[in-house]
């Protein structure tokens, strides 16, 4: 629908603000706010959302991890100038992960075979809204059998006079404790990790059909980065990151559809650089909204990741790999997640508005990770491809 000839007085200024003032993190929360709310205006209605997530992954001949994740989110306005948001999740994870590379055998070597764990996490955020700006403060806590994390976040945003541009500044800090003595493994005893993140961003309305966003994030982390369930794992105690995120949303009037695109560049002092591209097509059809999507990810290996030794048939040579480890000095890791690989996700989301204030949604995604999908040639050798499926069912209600 074109609004080019509509007098300004009849425009939904708040809706415009909502589109032009979106921020990472805060933007996601704004999406559940009433359609008439703006980033600098406290929500007029309260929102409650629940979602049930299910996850499973596998590699050839081995079903690895299964997880369920019920989540809840609430948002409420306070005195017209404030809002409070809170969310909680209880992950239940069971299954097994490799002890090195993609090897199933070797539970006695520290592989997390037969593990079962529950993670509970929650966060609270308070936002103060002013004429052309807003400030938010948040705290988050997560606990599981062998890992506890406490985090805080502060961010501020303000907009230009014409609402075509919004600037963002954010700071986050997390303090984590890793300790697996309760499970009897004892490979991480009272270890700690601290990270700080600094973010700056700008969101710009380009045309009546285009809005873009650019964020730059600097992360500084120190402490324990090993995976205590992997064999041969010794990582640096410092990891600093640079992340650049560019997003562009384009409205296609002939289809009444939106194309959402994103690109993320990531670089860290482990030597990993990665590229992530996301594409989503949002197609309303009456009360139904269909959102097919695709994500592509490619990363190069960390500079201390080592390849496995393969035999003449190209199969994993455990003894040869062990001998290779013995000869390695300094940092080392056989963690598949630090190898060079690519990954593709295909997704489809269906959302149905039962009423204007009640929406149910269903999303299914399929994920494949393999060396063959590495962007520039062949990725790390000797790793089995990895597949995963994610399913989500949700309900959002405003009142």
């Amino acid at each position: 629908m074109s609004t080019h000839n509509t007098p300004p007085s009849q425009q939904s200024a708040t809706g415009v603000l909502l589109a032009s003032l979106l921020l990472p993190g805060l933007a996601s929360l704004a999406a559940l706010a009433p359609a008439t709310s703006a980033a600098e205006t406290a929500p007029e209605k309260s929102t409650i959302a629940v979602k049930y997530g299910s996850y499973s992954d596998s590699q050839p001949g081995w079903d690895r991890i299964k997880a369920t994740a019920p989540q809840v989110y609430v948002q409420a306005p306070i005195a017209g100038e404030w809002s409070i948001e809170a969310s909680g999740v209880a992950d239940n994870v069971s299954g097994a992960t490799p002890y090195a590379h993609t090897q199933k055998s070797g539970a006695s070597s520290g592989g997390k075979l037969g593990m079962s764990d529950e993670r509970k996490a929650g966060d609270v955020k308070i936002t103060r809204y002013m004429a052309r700006s807003a400030i938010s403060a948040s705290v988050a806590y997560s606990t599981e059998n062998d890992y506890k994390s406490t985090a805080l976040g502060l961010d501020a945003r303000w907009s230009s006079d014409d609402n075509n541009r919004t600037w963002t500044l954010g700071f986050g800090a997390a303090s984590d404790t890793i300790d697996n003595t309760a499970s009897g493994i004892n490979t991480a005893i009272n270890e700690h990790k601290n990270t700080q993140e600094f973010m700056g961003g700008i969101t710009q309305v380009l045309t009546p059909a285009d809005i873009v966003q650019f964020n730059l994030t600097r992360g500084v982390g120190s402490g324990y980065f090993n995976d205590p369930y992997k064999s041969y794992d010794l990582r640096p105690n410092q990891r600093d990151t640079w992340i650049a995120l560019a997003r562009w949303n384009h409205y296609l009037e002939p289809f009444d559809a939106s194309l959402r695109t994103s690109y993320r560049y990531y670089s860290d002092t482990f030597g990993v650089q990665s590229h992530t591209v996301g594409l989503d097509w949002v197609q309303p059809v009456g009360k139904l909204t269909l959102t097919p999507g695709m994500r592509y990810y490619s990363q190069q290996a960390a500079n201390f990741y080592f390849d496995p030794v393969l035999n003449a048939q190209g199969q994993y040579d455990a003894f040869g790999t062990l001998m290779r480890v013995v000869g390695l000095k300094g940092y080392k890791s056989a963690d598949q997640r630090l190898a060079a690989f690519g990954a593709v996700t295909l997704s489809m989301k269906l959302a149905y508005a039962i009423t204007p204030d009640t929406v149910v949604d269903f999303k299914v995604e399929t994920y494949r990770q393999s060396a063959d999908l590495y962007l520039s040639g062949k990725g790390s050798p000797g790793l089995d491809p990895f597949n995963a499926q994610f399913i989500q069912i949700g309900l959002t209600r405003r009142f």
Binding site: T6, S28, A140, Y141, L206, I211, Q369
Partner: protein
């Protein structure tokens, strides 16, 4: 084949970026109706985003860039 498709999509996205930027100019308030539609939000569903980003963060080296203030986990 898959990588070629991906590279093609990357190229198309880049072109679309450039074409969008080339027509950039001041946009008046009464021209922003379509920008306010739900499909034009950068993140449409916070619980969905948290769930999927949590998965990617536990299966890939890279994570973050979408906001600040989240905590870590010992994810497998």
């Amino acid at each position: 084949m898959m990588k070629r498709t991906i590279l093609g999509l990357l190229a198309l996205t880049s072109l679309a970026w450039l074409s969008g930027c080339s027509s950039a100019g001041p946009v008046n308030a009464w021209e922003k109706g379509n920008l306010a539609k739900p499909g034009m939000t950068f993140e449409s569903d916070p619980l969905d985003q948290r769930f999927t980003q949590h998965i990617y963060g536990s299966k890939e080296n890279s994570s973050g860039g979408y906001g600040v203030g989240g905590g870590g986990c010992g994810c497998n």
